[in-house]
Symmetry: C2
Subunit: 110 residues, 2 copies
DNA sequence: TACGATACATAGACTCTATATGTATGTCAA
DNA sequence: TTGACATACATATAGAGTCTATGTATCGTA
């Protein structure tokens, strides 16, 4: 589906933005991204968990073990302060590139 | 400056979009990207030329040797049909991710 | 002659996704 | 009781690609 570069570029900002709305866990993040993209972004757990681990190691998010309503173990992730800072920076950079791309796209229909 | 993932994700769509406006050469592409981003996107030739070579190898663009007004050699690049197709797909994917990110961003100020 | 801008090229260290594979467990139907 | 499916997290490796460094080349200007 998506080029791996775009997956790489968007994973962290998407995760940070989702966690800004409240703590979540891996499986739910995958579901949320799928829903919000109308089923077009299909992250795998094999893609997601290494990213979550790396973000945790970098101090952007933190994890705690919890349990679901039915007793199943879950690892809940939430934003740390550095994560909020990173999210703002990600957004700024994304919008920078977006504005250049959108500007070029607009010029194509002049 | 920019995270390498975002550089990776945006290089090809930016190059394709620039070449859609007319053939160009390496140094000018670097200048154009810098100008359109208000000086914030500073590609190096060491980043750009491997990307151009790869795109050429993939049949997205083609190259021809030419000369500048002052006699200096230049390698001019232009879009091939596959490049136009790739550009449309890049744009579609970019807008997909952008819409999810923008939706999340909007929700943060509700 | 030296410097800066212009112009293209390539190699290696390092990073990271896709893919594969693994373990675990709750619900539901047969 | 068993099997299938959904749910839930984990990790390794092949392969791809950027950053950084370094290289050669050449035109204009001081």
């Amino acid at each position: 589906m998506l080029r791996k570069e775009l997956v790489a570029a968007s994973a962290e900002p998407l995760i940070l933005s989702l966690l800004a709305k409240g703590e979540s866990y891996g499986y739910a993040i995958i579901q949320e991204v799928k829903e919000r993209s109308g089923g077009k972004l299909n992250w795998t757990d094999g893609m997601l968990y290494p990213v979550l681990h790396r973000m945790e190691n970098r101090g952007l998010i933190k994890a705690r073990w919890g349990e679901s309503e039915t007793g199943r173990k879950r690892k809940y992730y939430s934003l740390k302060k550095d994560g909020k800072t990173a999210m703002a920076k990600h957004h700024e950079h994304w919008m920078l590139v977006h504005s250049v791309l959108a500007g070029l796209k607009k010029e194509q229909y002049v």
